[in-house]
């Protein structure tokens, strides 16, 4: 994160580029019924426009105006409508997250009044927790969601509010990363989770009343409740009438010194049109319980399997992570003889969470599929990436980097830098694709 006002000098330029880019995608209609026909591959039958611009840049103007900008965060523009109406709003700089499911809009970025989900007389709200110790809280609402020519109708979404009723202690206690409720705290106007699951919680929320998930609010008093699969916040992609089995993210390569921004595409569907085929991409089945796969680094396995001789770590591809986050300095040095120190924690070059090697280090790690029991499956595929000095790289005003990394004990988290120069497929659970049902990732 850059805490600089110099960002402002070119934020306007970037925003202009973003607008131009959005125009190039065929534009977004203010009407949910406003399909723009003829995607890049439309021949014969009328194909829906299934592709929109994906931009890695300095983020929303409101974030820049607050003096902040984050590296390696991918954004799209989403149109949100009151269900069944043409009362709509375009929301730019919605962060694309393959590590979560569902649309979550910060209240200050939402101008529409969307219908609140209720159970009897009670409002339904949700708590959401992220790996960085942050949390979000707010009502579940319903919206039509339009992206390019795709429309998902009456989708349960979440509105992230600072003071919705009374935030339950069971949601906020111990979450020292703080609450995500506005553009500066989220770093985006909204988060759109397009990961491998259909719902954000799944069967874990359909019985009992687990704290930290769904809540029913009697007045200001919100208590944990169960939530049916259909009422849960949904990955909007699987609710599209077509192109609903997953997403394809394509981003261009960038120089090792970074680039001011990167512009690619987010395409819906896998193998449903001429622009979203798997081609030679290798399919990596993920654990249907966790969405994780297995990573093997210099003989040590990092997967979900909870048993002898295995790592009990977790490895995954996540566009919502802004680095290659893997292991930690001590483990890399002591166990593997790889010298990658953390960035300074104080002083002018202080940078929490990232690696700052003296010279760029190359890392090679094998990844394998993973079954429901957490055991590795299939043949290995090697991922090679570089880790450069993040503190040095971040000193210029660039926002797309392919070579920043940081700590993540017992795990390999392949974040946005992994996507640069690649086409990455994320297939949704239970949805048919030419290479079988999701969940899987492919690249």
């Amino acid at each position: 994160m850059k805490n600089i006002f110099r960002v402002l000098q070119f934020a306007a330029l970037l925003s202009f580029a973003f607008l131009l880019a959005a125009c190039g995608s065929g534009g977004s209609s203010s009407s949910p019924g406003g399909f723009s026909s003829g995607g890049s591959g439309s021949t014969g039958t009328q194909a829906s426009n299934n592709s929109t611009q994906l931009v890695v840049d300095s983020g929303p103007l409101e974030l820049n105006n607050a003096g902040f900008a984050d590296e390696d965060v991918p954004f799209i523009t989403v149109t949100v409508c009151v269900p069944g109406t043409t009362t709509c709003q375009n929301i730019d700089h919605v962060e694309v997250d393959t590590g979560s499911e569902g649309l979550r809009i910060v209240a200050p970025a939402l101008t529409l009044s969307l219908p609140q989900q209720t159970a009897g007389a009670n409002a339904i709200a949700e708590c959401v927790q992220f790996g960085d110790l942050t949390y979000g809280w707010g009502p579940v609402a319903t919206a039509d969601i339009q992206i390019a020519g795709e429309v998902a109708k009456s989708v349960p979404i979440q509105i992230l509010e600072q003071n919705f009723q009374t935030t339950p202690t069971s949601c906020s206690s111990g979450q020292t990363g703080g609450q995500l409720f506005d553009i500066p705290s989220l770093g985006a106007k909204a988060l759109i989770g397009v990961g491998v699951f259909r719902q954000d919680c799944g069967f874990g929320c359909t019985t009992g009343a687990p704290p930290g998930a769904y809540y029913t609010c009697n007045g200001t008093n919100c208590t944990p409740t169960s939530q049916s699969l259909t009422a849960q916040v949904q990955n909007p992609v699987w609710m599209f009438p077509t192109d609903n089995n997953g997403v394809v993210m394509t981003l261009p390569p960038v120089p090792d010194t970074g680039q001011i921004s990167a512009i690619g595409t987010l395409t819906f569907g896998i193998g449903t049109q001429s622009n979203n085929g798997l081609g030679s991409a290798a399919v990596l089945p993920v654990d249907p319980n966790t969405g994780n796969f297995a990573a093997q680094f210099m003989g040590t396995l990092y997967n979900d399997f909870n048993g002898p001789g295995s790592g009990q770590g977790s490895s995954f591809i996540d566009s919502g992570s802004n680095g290659f986050f893997f292991l930690d300095s001590a483990t890399l040095t002591n166990q593997f003889g790889v010298n990658i120190p953390d960035c300074p924690q104080s002083g002018p070059n202080a940078l929490m969470g990232f690696y700052c090697p003296g010279a760029t280090q190359q890392i090679s790690v094998d990844v394998l599929g993973e079954t429901a029991s957490g055991t590795p499956s299939g043949s290995a595929r090697t991922i090679t990436f570089n880790v450069a000095n993040a503190s040095t790289l971040f000193q210029n005003n660039f926002f797309a980097f392919n070579d920043v990394g940081g700590e993540n004990s017992n795990s390999f988290d392949f974040g946005l830098p992994f996507f640069l120069g690649k086409t990455v497929f994320t297939a949704i659970e239970g949805q048919a694709t030419p290479s079988g049902n999701g969940p899987y990732v492919a690249f």
Binding site: L133, S170, G204, P210, T290, F316, F325, M352, G353, S411
Partner: protein
């Protein structure tokens, strides 16, 4: 914090539904795990290793929390994995204020590692599969490898 008298490991083998008032887990006595178990409304099993004991609890949300106990009956580390994080204020006990004071100073878009004078906390993962651990380096028995706290 009140202090419970030490109990035998045998007692700990019995999954207890008894509710105790809030006792610190990390850094605390092995009996403090029962308070965490009650807080989580969790089922518990105990795994005996050569150098330490693991008390594994599974909450209603299917999150699995493990507490690592040294031979002298002290909780030197905890880990979690699942759809929700355990209440770290409960799990970290007396170490919580030290942890809270060292909260991330920047907005993160990825996992977090926090090192304080007495504590290391690492948190990461993604929706449905949050992971993390916390340990007190000075309390970790010499025979225990840090990478085994998971």
């Amino acid at each position: 914090m009140r202090v419970l008298s030490p109990r035998s490991f045998l007692l700990c083998l019995i999954a207890s539904a008894f509710s105790y008032s809030a006792f610190a887990a990390l850094g605390g006595d092995v009996t403090s795990i029962q308070a965490d178990q009650a807080h989580m409304r969790a089922q518990r099993r105990v795994i005996q290793n050569a150098a330490y004991t693991v008390h594994e609890m599974k909450s209603e949300s299917t999150t699995v929390v493990r507490e690592f106990v040294s031979p002298d009956g002290k909780v030197f580390g905890i880990s979690w994995r699942g759809p929700t994080r355990p209440d770290l204020q409960q799990m970290l006990g007396n170490y919580y204020s030290e942890f809270a004071a060292a909260r991330p100073t920047r907005r993160m878009h990825g996992p977090v590692t926090i090192r304080t004078q007495n504590l290391v906390i690492q948190s990461g993962g993604h929706m449905r599969a949050l992971t993390g651990r916390a340990y007190v380096p000075a309390m970790v028995p010499a025979e225990v490898r840090l990478e085994d706290i998971k």
